[in-house]
Symmetry: C2
Subunit: 225 residues, 2 copies
DNA sequence: CTGGGTCAAAGGTCATACCTATCGGCGCGA
DNA sequence: TCGCGCCGATAGGTATGACCTTTGACCCAG
């Protein structure tokens, strides 16, 4: 669709800074530049405005806003930043967010019971098999499922909504060769510990084990910088 | 502006469930119902779509999506839920999010130095004065400033972006009489401890002290339910 | 009963016209 | 000379109406 293309192009340009904060666009200008009607440019601008990337003012035009005003939880913005030169900074932010959220999510998951425990145990077992075999791509998929399930089992929709983000982080790590050829045995053990703790309803244990996982990730990240 | 009004009305209706998931709207229907042109309804629908509240399909119309698909970090959605019958659930989610994020933010704030420590000490002192005088409204404002500053000082934009949310939670608590007539002395002391720890660069101390604050809040919340 | 074709409904896009809020400059008066 | 207020040009805001494109649903033939 025309909208999506234009939105993507403009979004990336702004995120990358090739259209810097303070720059002024006009609906007509964009329309002629991209060969679309004002109907389209208007709707795209509305979306960008709703993400805090721009603000539209009569008699002036569409003004690009500074990065501090951006709605950093918007999924599209997240994707743009992950796809561009902002990637390292974005990954750092997200990893810190994970290190905050996931232990608490694990605690809540253990506390609020649910049948997720069994499934987590199973996923952890598959992670061990795939990990020890060095099948990193498949490992990453299951890893993402594991974390997504913990987040969902926390029964907090704001935690659950981060599942996609976590998957993105894991995928990024794998695709950029930031993973060791084989996952750390400690990491495998920690996943199993989380699963067991959730299954047993041991909330402090779940929180501690998940802390171990995300802290190791943080350490690895800061180590490579 | 026409957009904003219509967006607000429709958003609230969907969030409240008076337009349930699966319901189908049409651009023309909305246009005639609200007396606006298709230009307006289209742009509103695009925004709702970008929040995950609806999805538009040709030949069918605009279909309302189930709550699990909503983009729960969208500020507008947050406001709608806080303003309606979803308020208690939303406050619970947000409080849990705070209890995850704020301790880590405090740790990072202490770690990444910055001049925020002095300012935090000052804010904590003002909180004590206002709190002991029972001036709750003013207390809440300074409290919000305190937490916002910690989040910003963490130098993580995703944490910083939660400042508004925290303020909303605090305001909600105060306006709904969920605060004791005078803040707990322990809470005042904990704020001072956070400030001192950040100032001293004591990251474990800052994390622990902030944990004490948010855990007390969580306990109070679950206690009233 | 099944498969394909036809039709109509509703969103997607475009062009145009007019309204309206503003920014900036110009001119008048103190 | 300086300041205030009026005025016009500009660019977004809204309304229409036309046409395209996709696609769900119905009907008919095999």
């Amino acid at each position: 669709m025309l909208h999506d293309d234009l939105l993507d192009v403009l979004g990336r340009e702004i995120v990358e800074g090739s259209v810097p904060a303070g720059a002024v666009l006009t609906l007509e200008g964009l329309g002629t530049r991209f060969g679309v009607s004002r109907t389209v440019t208007r709707e795209v601008m509305r979306l960008l405005e709703s993400m805090g990337l721009v603000t539209s003012r009569r008699r002036v035009g569409i003004v690009v806003r500074p990065a501090v005003d951006w709605d950093v939880y918007d999924p599209r913005l997240l994707r743009w930043r992950l796809a561009g030169s902002e990637r390292p900074a974005q990954l750092r932010s997200l990893t810190e967010l994970r290190s905050a959220v996931e232990p608490v999510a694990a605690r809540l998951a253990a506390q609020r019971g649910s049948a997720a425990g069994d499934e987590l145990v199973e996923l952890a077992a598959r992670m061990r098999v795939l990990g020890e075999a060095g099948r990193l791509a498949e490992f990453m998929v299951v890893d993402a499922q594991f974390h997504a399930l913990v987040l969902r089992a926390s029964r907090n929709e704001m935690f659950a909504a981060l599942a996609d983000v976590v998957e993105e982080v894991l995928r990024g790590r794998t695709e950029h060769g930031l993973m060791p050829p084989r996952p750390e045995p400690r990491a495998l053990a920690a996943h199993e510990a989380v699963a067991a703790a959730v299954q047993a309803g041991d909330s402090p244990g779940a929180e501690a084990a998940m802390s171990a996982i995300v802290n190791e990730v943080s350490a690895a990240l800061t180590g490579t910088e």
